[in-house]
């Protein structure tokens, strides 16, 4: 039906796809999996005409095709459902369904009666009963997703690409979606299904292609591939290689003692977290493991008040902290280094000095006037201690290297004298030398008695740096590895374990 050979695509500074092959047969549900940066989204965007490939060819139903625009791809029979619904919220449900191919009456005007009827039928077929005249916006996210699906299916699609279609659906809606996928199969339509939820993949998909670092690392029948093997392929860890490889890569055990400095109890956030609980003792580095989309960043953000929690409590040294408020969390001593350093961490236009002083500013001022001498002292201390390399404290942070930007952020929080540090991918996108330095700093800080929560997609870093690892899957804690259990093998097993089966052996 659809086959792709030798597809390559480069962006400035990064090779997103490197000679990728993919073949999808009619009536096949093909899973496309991989971690962050594996090239899934790039591949989808090439297939749907958003990007043009540098090399390689796409063959659809025996004919080589090149799409210049998403519209061309759609006309050729490739429909896409994106993670975020991309329809027109203010238009009616029916108009959204038929956007660009409205049934015309005489004089070329839209035949609304026919359109509404057809729309109603199409949605009923998916088990959705809504007034198709209402604006799409008035529907819930799940229902909107179903409209997007109906649109994709109605548009005479030969191939339907679904990019994490279940991320905002309720379990009941997921069931409906799967039924629709089965109907599509019966009609001979091929489905490319992207998801991180292993249970879903094993339920609905026939074949799987695993991408890693822009290359295809595996293609084959999903039923013949066990979960553990699939996870190892995604994370790039061969079982034989990881067996027995323990922690103590960069330091190992810290002296942990006493009462927990941070307790999160039953944190629940709609669509991302289901009753996550964890505790951190002073001087302890706790790793958060799990696949992309398992709720690692959401846990950190909910603890730091940056993501409003629907229920659950956060305690710092036994004292409750108001959830959903960043200032409250910061006052309590919780500091978050966000995953997206450039967009949410640094203030690129301000200097190193001002970035470091930013959060602590009220404490470094008298009557609202900035006390420059005190700021200079604080900045000087941290620039030295964290070995921040900048031409001067007045250099703009946006001009620094990634590693130094991360150190500036660390300095910003250390100036607040926090009790808990939440580090979300602290070494992503920074060079090897700086990585080692940042890891060393994390150890130092834990030794000084901070509680550290470490999120990392780098297995070695997670295993090597953590005293304990809490494993998340689909927004819930599924395992906790302590002491000698902190090994890559155990982590892989915990991630791959069946729903309800718990961590095995």
């Amino acid at each position: 039906m659809l086959s792709v050979t030798g597809l390559s695509k480069s962006f400035p500074g990064a090779r997103a796809l490197d000679g990728v092959d993919l073949a999808v047969r009619p009536a096949e549900v093909h899973a496309l999996v991989g971690e962050n940066g594996a090239g899934k989204s790039t591949l989808i965007k090439v297939l749907t005409g958003v990007y043009r490939p540098d090399e390689g060819e796409i063959v659809l139903e025996g004919r080589p095709v090149r799409f210049a625009t998403p519209l061309e791809a759609q006309r050729a029979g490739i429909s896409t459902i994106y993670q975020e619904v991309n329809l027109v919220p203010l238009m009616s449900v029916a108009r959204n369904l038929f956007l660009g191919r409205e049934p015309r009456g005489r004089l070329g005007l839209i035949d609304f009666r026919r359109m509404h009827q057809a729309a109603d039928e199409a949605l009923r077929a998916l088990g959705l009963r809504v007034d198709v005249r209402r604006p799409l916006r008035s529907l819930g996210v799940g229902a909107q997703q179903m409209v997007a699906l109906a649109r994709a299916v109605a548009a005479d699609a030969r191939v339907v690409v679904m990019d994490e279609p279940t991320s905002s659906l309720e379990p009941r809606e997921v069931r409906t979606l799967f039924e629709v996928i089965r109907t599509l199969k019966e009609r001979g339509i091929a489905v490319i299904y992207v998801s991180h939820r292993l249970d879903e993949l094993y339920e609905i998909c026939d074949t799987v292609t695993v991408l890693r670092d822009g290359r295809r690392v595996h293609t084959g029948s999903l039923a013949e591939l066990d979960r553990l093997r699939l996870v190892s392929l995604m994370l790039g860890r061969e079982m034989g290689e990881v067996r027995g490889k323990g922690r103590a890569e960069f330091t190992g055990a810290h002296r942990t003692s006493g009462e927990p400095v941070l307790e999160a109890i039953d944190l629940t956030v709609r669509h991302s977290l289901r009753g996550v609980s964890l505790r951190l003792r002073p001087g302890e580095v706790v790793g958060l493991g799990g696949l992309l989309g398992s709720g690692r960043s959401e846990t950190a953000r909910a603890v730091a008040g940056a993501l409003p929690a629907d229920s659950g409590r956060v305690l710092v040294a036994g004292v409750p902290v108001r959830t959903g408020s960043t200032p409250a969390a910061i006052r309590a001593g919780i500091s978050l280094l966000p995953e997206d350093r450039k967009a949410e961490g640094i203030v690129p236009g301000l200097s190193v000095r001002e970035n470091i002083a930013l959060a602590a500013l009220p404490g470094l001022s008298r009557f609202g006037l900035v006390d420059d001498a005190r700021i200079d002292r604080v900045v000087d201390t941290f620039v030295k201690r964290l070995r921040i390399k900048a031409s001067s404290p007045h250099q703009r942070v946006g001009e620094l290297s990634g590693g130094n930007q991360q150190k500036v952020l660390l300095a910003r929080w250390l100036a607040m004298r926090p009790r808990v540090l939440l580090l979300d991918e602290p070494t992503r996108g920074i060079d090897v030398g700086a990585k080692a330095e940042v890891r060393g700093l994390i150890d130092e800080l834990a030794d000084e008695g901070l509680g550290v929560l470490l999120i990392s997609s780098d297995m070695e870093e997670l295993i090597g740096g953590s005293d304990r690892v809490v494993v998340l899957r689909d927004g819930a804690v599924v395992a906790e590895l302590t002491g000698a259990e902190v090994t890559e093998e155990r982590l892989l097993r915990a991630i791959a374990a069946q729903e309800g089966g718990g961590p095995d052996d």
Partner: protein, 321 residues
């Protein structure tokens, strides 16, 4: 940082010149205009002429100071002209209680509009351009309800404000200068100023750093409203009349022009108060020059347009670097 002088030296001509132009071009422009006028315009170098120019530019400058704060916070305040009208209406209505009470009423009116703007932006999440557009319409309407037509202002205090000096400097100019220094100090030296710039540069980062984003935004728009109200009082004092139908019309555009020409980027995160002062003076001098040479007002507008395009061009070049 890691790569030293080499990549900087090569693109000197292309990269450094616009940076220089954006930073100091506005001062150079003022200098060029002054020089040209000294050479070409008769009676330019008279104290009386400078006095007139300075008194005329004062209200624009005061409004532009508030605008600079709003733009620095990645917003804009379109309601300033209407706030001037509201201010003149309130001033005229309360003048019976004495000039100080009237002044306070005008300033409170400006602060109220600013509070409404700030609340819409910070709590409701309306885009600044839309929120302040709403208040621009509402403010002018309210001003006309309070004072339906032009009314003369006969008050010795207001007359003194409009026409007398302190040590040879006209009062409006003195007030504008003091306000410029105060705003400059606020931006550079106060916690509020630093937080304002951080919010303008990266709102998500500021929020995650625990800054009081909403409070800062509200204070920014209150400041802008109060400054516009003061500008309204100054303009009323100069005209010796309250005219809510026409006072302050298109003032928002003049103020934005002064700020942008002065080198403050519309994307927020940086405020140049010195540049804003020079920007206001530049526009004033440009207008005055063309008038003195008997060119029609349409020429002034075209000249302003050219200056704006040049300023934006310089800013764009810098952004690309």
């Amino acid at each position: 940082m890691t790569e030293p002088a080499a990549p900087r030296r090569v693109p000197w001509d292309r990269a450094r010149t616009p940076a220089f132009l954006q930073g100091y071009g506005v001062y150079a422009g003022v200098a060029v205009l002054l020089l040209a006028n000294v050479l070409l315009t008769p009676h330019f170098l008279s104290a009386e002429n400078f006095r007139t120019q300075a008194v005329q530019v004062a209200p624009v400058l005061v409004v532009a100071l508030g605008m600079a704060l709003a733009i620095g916070a990645e917003g804009v305040d379109l309601s300033v002209g209407s706030v001037m009208a509201l201010s003149t209406s309130l001033l005229s209505l309360y003048l019976g209680y004495g000039p100080w009470i009237a002044l306070i009423a005008a300033v409170v009116g400006g602060a109220a509009v600013g509070l409404a703007n700030g609340s819409l932006i910070a709590f409701v999440g309306v885009q600044p351009i839309v929120a302040t557009l709403a208040l621009m319409v509402a403010g002018r309407g309210l001003a006309l309800v309070l004072l339906p037509q032009l009314r003369d202002v006969r008050d010795p205090g207001m007359a003194a404000l409009g026409s007398q000096d302190l040590l040879g400097v006209p009062h409006p100019v003195l007030i504008a200068a003091v306000l410029a220094l105060a705003v400059g100090f606020t931006v550079r030296r106060t916690t509020f100023g630093r937080q304002l710039l951080a919010i303008g540069d990266s709102r998500p980062a500021a929020r995650l750093a625990g800054l009081p984003v909403r409070r800062v935004l509200i204070v920014v728009y209150i400041c802008s409203g109060v400054l516009a109200a003061i500008a309204g009082v100054l303009a009323t004092a100069r005209l010796q009349a309250s005219d809510p139908t026409s006072l302050g019309t298109l003032m928002e555009l003049s103020a934005i022009t002064a700020v942008v020409v002065g080198g403050t980027p519309l994307s927020g995160g940086r405020i140049r108060i010195g540049g804003t002062v020079a920007g206001a003076v530049l526009i004033q001098l440009l207008t005055a020059t063309l008038i003195k040479h008997d060119l029609p007002p349409s020429w002034t507008q075209i000249a302003q347009a050219v200056v704006i395009v040049l300023a934006v061009h310089a800013a764009r070049e810098r952004g690309k670097r």
